[in-house]
């Protein structure tokens, strides 16, 4: 009987597959991305290397000595760790983080605007107690600006009613407000001593959400030439909720990771984080092959560091709050070995 290896599905549950079945998963995953986005699939040697990683009984997998990369974290800390700054210190001293991120539990620039003074105070304390870089992060979260949470029309309601022009106007108005809030908060936190600013899940609200992020980055770069700015994406495709928005002549709707990187670089960010969402019904092997296929074109055009998102539900990592280390470590290693990127 052919040997079976324990591997995982995208929801974290365990399955046992043969080497041949894992190979089929990898090939299917890369072809799925290649067909969808008209990209080249992974090379044969890359697939063979991934097969060696996944068709293994080892509980854990790791990169070769010397191939280590920088690990940047978003939203570091949980209530079990004590205060927010205690949590950052624990990431530094106990969890071997290369950077950490102070954040507010209501992880939105619009929300933080109202409590920015308290966030500045927390950043001051963090800078006094932590040696590794302490970034400040939140999400652009354009939806917050639509009714009933915000002053703009609700495009999620207007679009199904075929009130397209109104939906676009609402998004354009929201973009203006969001840019002001992001610039305000990021400036305040930079002045409080943050080592960098993170815009997390950019594009989660579609092309308007992404545009707001790019415009904010552009303004911050102009005002603060030395500011470290990280833009982490929300997915492998920018949805065209508006459909006609452009940044410096590039249509944002439909952008894949490489295209996303190009405009993020133009705006002036210093680190880019591509994200590829996980299909929880498929295996981790399928998901990582698909994710790598989407992200690989970034490396040819990247002038800034690329830190792939490999957290819960992205970058092949199972969509589970308690993802198993056998899956996480395989995805971690796969991203480094195949993409040769600058961090995770």
């Amino acid at each position: 009987m052919e040997r079976r290896f324990i591997t995982r599905l995208g929801d974290g549950s365990a399955v046992a597959l043969t080497r041949g079945e894992i190979r089929a998963e990898l090939e299917d995953g890369t072809q799925a991305a290649a067909a969808r986005a008209k990209l080249p699939p992974l090379e044969l040697d890359e697939l063979e290397h991934l097969l060696d990683i996944f068709a293994s009984a080892a509980r854990f997998s790791a990169v070769d000595i010397g191939d280590e990369v920088v690990l940047s974290f978003d939203g570091t800390g949980t209530p079990q760790q004590g205060s927010r700054v205690n949590a950052l210190l624990q990431y530094e001293q106990c969890l071997a983080a290369d950077t950490c991120e102070l954040y507010h539990i209501d992880y939105s620039y619009k929300a933080v605007k109202t409590v920015v003074g308290a966030e500045q105070q927390a950043m001051k304390e963090a800078q006094e107690r932590v040696t590794i870089p302490v970034h400040y992060g939140a999400q652009p979260d354009l939806g917050r600006y639509s009714a009933p949470d915000g002053p703009c029309g609700n495009w999620a309601e207007l679009l199904p009613q075929m009130r397209i022009d109104e939906a676009r106007e609402a998004q354009e108005a929201a973009v203006e407000l969001a840019v002001e809030d992001m610039v305000y908060v990021a400036t305040a936190m930079w002045e409080a001593g943050a080592d960098g600013i993170d815009f997390d899940t950019a594009g989660a609200g579609g092309d308007a959400d992404f545009l707001a992020t790019l415009l904010a980055v552009e303004r911050l770069r102009a005002a603060h030439p030395g500011m470290g700015i990280m833009v982490g994406m929300s997915g492998e495709l920018v949805l065209g909720t508006h459909g006609q928005l452009e940044y410096r002549g590039t249509r944002l709707a439909g952008l894949r990771p490489a295209g996303q990187l190009e405009v993020v670089q133009q705006a002036g960010a210093t680190v880019f984080g591509p994200a590829v969402n996980v299909n929880t019904s498929r295996t981790v092997a399928w998901n990582i092959a698909r994710a790598l296929t989407f992200m690989k074109p970034c490396m040819a055009v990247a002038r800034i560091p690329v830190h792939a998102n490999v957290g819960m539900g992205v970058g092949g990592v199972p969509m589970n709050a308690f993802a198993p280390v056998d899956a996480i470590s395989r995805c971690s290693r796969a991203c480094v070995d195949v993409l040769r990127l600058d961090g995770l």
Partner: protein, 101 residues
């Protein structure tokens, strides 16, 4: 999650030189290889040593760049985080705005 990534592929921050390389990536948009070369050159080590906790523990101690400590190995004379970051800023030629506040 963070532990798994740190063990699988991370440079391990203050245990080695990961935070130093990270500062250059974030502040200057340096790619990983260039950032590693730069840090190694400023520290007077090889690139291979940057992720070696034994080597970097000694180097960081000598240069007063801050390091991890445990119950059995305490360093009461080690620099405060603020002093460590001043030294890091001077070593890497960076402006670290969180220093001296």
């Amino acid at each position: 999650m963070p532990v798994a990534h740190a063990v699988a592929s991370g440079m391990n921050g203050l245990r080695a030189a990961g935070d130093l390389v990270a500062r250059l990536e974030m502040a200057r948009g340096m790619k990983l290889a260039e950032a590693k070369d730069y840090v190694a050159q400023r520290l007077g080590t090889s690139v291979a040593d940057l992720a070696d906790p034994l080597v970097m523990h000694e180097v960081r101690g000598e240069l007063r760049l801050g390091r991890v400590f445990e119950t059995e190995t305490t360093y009461p004379d080690d620099p405060s985080p603020q002093e460590a970051k001043r030294n890091i800023a001077a070593l890497l030629g960076l402006q670290i705005d969180g220093v001296g506040r």
